[in-house]
Amino acid sequence: MTPPPPPASELLWHAAAAACVKLLLVPSYRSTDFEVHRHWLALTHSLPVARWYADETSPWTLDYPPFFAFLELLLSFPARAVDPVIVHLHRGLGYGAASAVLFQRLTVVAADCCLVYAARRLTRNCEPGKGRLIWVLVIWSPMLLIVDHVHFQYNGFLLGILLLSISCLSEGKDLAGGCLFAILLCFKHLFAVAAPVYFVYLLRRCFRGGLARGIGRLSALGAVVVAIFAAAYGPFIYHGQMQQVIRRMFPFGRGLCHAYWAPNFWVFYIVLDKVLSFVLRRLGFDIQTPAASFTGGLVGNSSPFAVLPQVTPLITFIMVLLALSPCLIKAWRNPQPKDAARWIAYAYTSGFLFGWHVHEKASLHFVIPLALTAVQSLGDAKHYFWLSIVCCYSLFPLLYEAQEYPIKVLLLLLHCMAMFLSFFVLFDGSARVKATASESRTGDESGEKRSLGLAKKGGFTIGWITKCYLFGILLVELWGQFLHPYILGNKLPFVPLMMISIYCAFGIMYSWIWQLRSIVRGSS
């Protein structure tokens, strides 16, 4: 008899308790993203739609798609009721009063309802143990707490829409899934990295019942998607603003890397370039110091690389597509609803590793969907365990002030421990069932010994390589926080950040290979 799924009241309890912690974090450090969103509240409230993407009052111009702008407009009305200065275009610039901070933080907490609802929908038909674990991994995700509720962003809301879309796909509701993804794209175009997967998957799924039905389904899907995009971009097409909108959403003038290098493939490329240029100079070759920098824009034809060939946005685009291709082939051949989460997470991992101007926050896009697959098998659980720790650690440089240091360390430790305990219980129970089953089958002494061995191997354990790698994180942190300032003082200030970047990049690269392998081999 399968146990009933956990009650919704439990989920609400988790959501409420998490909300309490989030509210306690209100006075913590805020990044410039706070001012960005406050300005967008003012912008959408004070100006007509035609001026939204053309306004130059603040350097924080609107660079998200229109649905997000409409959301900001919606929020600007209660904002004005709370404090009119928040939505004033000029007087509100750099406004950091308690009313503004509290209001904006509350909007992020409220927007997380989307994530909570998605978590509920995903675990409606789950076993209680697995369902609870998914809630803990998603609602109490330390990465979301750090990025959304301290640094300040609305990722919880956006990831909620993504998870809803995945939920619909995994239940076979393709139209709803595609629709939600289109809506998501109109909120934040960065999620478009998974569009090839969606496209191939949905296309193949449409035609599974024959050509006629396929064309019918495809047209329905196409019509809905077009309608959504029309609703989003229609007003701007009407005002002849589309070019301006596109220019704002895809800005040139940004380099291959962010100021803090996201732990992706390009980190290795840059390091290799530097090492090669150093070695070749020593050997006597004449290597020019590059004029451009990695973080600055594309300066004409000059490359920021001294030795290795230049990397352009087109090259990164092609590399992402290449990385996605095995997954697309799999999706085309056998579009299984239960694999949707895995493929989408893989798509975001590939986009993170090979994309242009990737932020480290983009690791959220693949870590959260992977939480759904983590409960499916022991291998997935082990993979998720160390990957989420590495990605959470890679976000540490976002909170660089001393006040938040205990908080981010405690969040990571809590997450680590909760994951370990709950994975252990989840897979220990199944290991014991396997052991007793094999016992009853064989019944003799050798069978008993084998079953004991099964019980030992079947449970959730951490291998020694993983332990070493995770211990290495501790060493990197000790160096960066304590030894480097003590020994080197103010010299080479970029070294600690670079070390974090490179160290995490190893882990994420390995995760990408692991995910690719698990997709190619096919999930059990």
Binding site: V21, G129, L133, D428, G429
Partner: protein, 495 residues
Amino acid sequence: MEKKKAKKTAHVGDAARAGAGADADADAPWGWLTNRGLVPTFSLISLFGLLVRAAVSLHPYSGAGTPPKYGDFEAQRHWMEITVNLPARDWYVNGTLNDLAYWGLDYPPLTAYQSYVHGLFLKLFDPDAVALFASRGYETYFSKLLMRWTVLSSDVMVFFPAVFYFWIVYNRGRSRGGERCDAAWHVAMLLINPCLILIDHGHFQYNCISLGLTVGAVAAVLSQKDLIACALFSLALNHKQMSAYFAPAFFSHLLGKCLRRKNPFFEVSRLGLVVMGTFAVVWLPYLYSTDALLQVLSRLAPFERGIYEDYVANFWCATSVLIKWKSQGFLYGLLNSSLPFYLFSFQVHEKSILLPLLPASLLALDNPSLYKWLTHYGLLSMFPLLHRDGLLLPYITLNALYFLLYHVPRDKRVSKVTGSSAAYPILSAFSVCCYFGLHLIYLTMHPPEKYPFLFEALIMIFCFFHFALLAIYTNKKQWTLSKHSMLLNKEKKII
């Protein structure tokens, strides 16, 4: 007879549950938390408790940005300044370098030593924060951080281990799944005590040290280590003289124990020696002359007044010398000793509610609704203070978090802790309405010119009414307990 029957059915039930033990754990809401034993459960909950404390530390402290006097935060910083820069003899003496009118030390020497150690820590990282005279009203981002970290570290080093010690002793023999879940709930109640967190990590104080030492002493009493209990409680007394609220209960319980042993005089003198030894070690710098001793005692003046003004507390403490109390009785004794002190003492601060709250939290597993009652109304009594400090948001949040943790979803089949069922539903509903109403009135309305403290007074009267009811209830409970233990004694004598 009833108890024996209940035990029997429990055994049968346990046997039935043990078979399905593993699965029940996996399916239970918190089976994953309690599955691996006591230490991982405690570690996880204490990590969460630390997170909540670190988050509350982000908020303002008492007297932030309010010259010339500021508040408790400045007082503690000033004590660090004094103890780091002056020799121990001058800490309690009025002089040119030590102006007692500006936040003079008025806690016993252990607080002074603790301030000294923390002052050294501050001096290492931010010497300007403890510079003599120049650092008055010193408030920077970094100094606030360092001060907050001293409280956090004190909590981790004193309060958390003491709670762990108590919890291990209290939960000996509770290893079944449902009981483990209840034990985990108990730790959450002990560690995530909103009043303590808001006062220590919000308003800014070091109650965690004296309360932690007291918890340690209680645990030592429960595990029959009376000498350690004496030493720890003496240290608690030497940190904050308000710990004397518990002194009658400790004294009479231990005296009663000694009198029942083979050689009572030897036992009593052993305990007495430990107490005197501890006091001597702590007061060592002030024992060179009677003047120095009296000078320090005069700074602790409320201590003297408090001890002589209250006789109400001591009825149960007196009887405990005659009746053999079990551990429950001792804990109720602590509660009944501290509540009247709080209710009737001279010069009591709102923060003193922390003292009756401590034994109530230790009893939380046995009497959850009592603890809940005391916590919510204790919080209300501190509301005006916390509002003045700018701690409204953490107040609301921690109140809500406590409520959630109290009503944590649990497997009702195996849990012994039931939700509170109000004895008089209409009366309690009315109380709840008043509770919220008072908050709203305080926040939204202005008091009349003639009575500027009207709302504070209303809140205080309302809370006093509830605390008085509570005191009656706990006394009645102890009466039942002692009657029960007297009957048991009689039965044993007959048998």
